[in-house]
Amino acid sequence: AQTVTQSQPEMSVQEAETVTLSCTYDTSESDYYLFWYKQPPSRQMILVIRQEAYKQQNATENRFSVNFQKAAKSFSLKISDSQLGDAAMYFCASFSSGSARQLTFGSGTQLTVLP
């Protein structure tokens, strides 16, 4: 079974500053993938960034990057130069390619961006 834990229910950041959202996961599979999804208020959930577990290099998408620590089973999201539009609920999720083959989400972190 997969589990994903987000220990920060709420975070805030000043506009233009950097913030890091934490996530830990647990899986018995060797082949898995990790995701961060963003759910803005009253809008669709969208993919922010994806990391393949077999890749050592941390994924980066513009202002969004991850710190993937495989041994520690940690997968944090860093948002640089925060913008007002980054305010949303952020969900960490994992997908294992073994028997489960489903996306398992954490409980989310509500990010507030302060002007």
Partner: protein, 114 residues
């Protein structure tokens, strides 16, 4: 490219009534998912289809929930009879295949059971 469509957006029913939700995935997407998102929690997978076949419904409460995917395109999720604890947002998502692919989500249906 049109996104995932869902209807209705909101629904209020009394307990023991029935309700149905509809989803139209992105054109060409073979895999369709239904999630339940209770307030303050992350989405929980209920069922996933590959074309018109069910690949995983292990978390679907089959005594009251049912789902089908007609001709491998649209899908409906039904609850009968509804309970108070079914109050949640029901999200539909689709992806190009059954695997670690990006999932595209619809706007969801917010269900309130009174």
């Amino acid at each position: 490219e049109a996104g995932v469509a869902q209807s209705p957006r909101y629904k209020i029913i009394e307990k023991r009534q029935s309700v149905a939700f509809w989803c139209n995935p992105i054109s060409g997407h073979a895999t369709l998912y239904w999630y339940q998102q209770i307030l303050g929690q992350g989405p929980k997978l209920l069922i996933q289809f590959q074309n018109n076949g069910v690949v995983d419904d292990s978390q679907l409460p089959k005594d009251r929930f049912s789902a089908e995917r007609l001709k491998g395109v649209d899908s409906t999720l039904k609850i009968q009879p509804a309970k108070l604890e079914d109050s949640a947002v029901y999200l539909c998502a689709s992806s190009s295949g059954w695997g670690p692919y990006e999932q595209y989500f619809g706007p969801g249906t917010r269900l309130t059971v009174t």
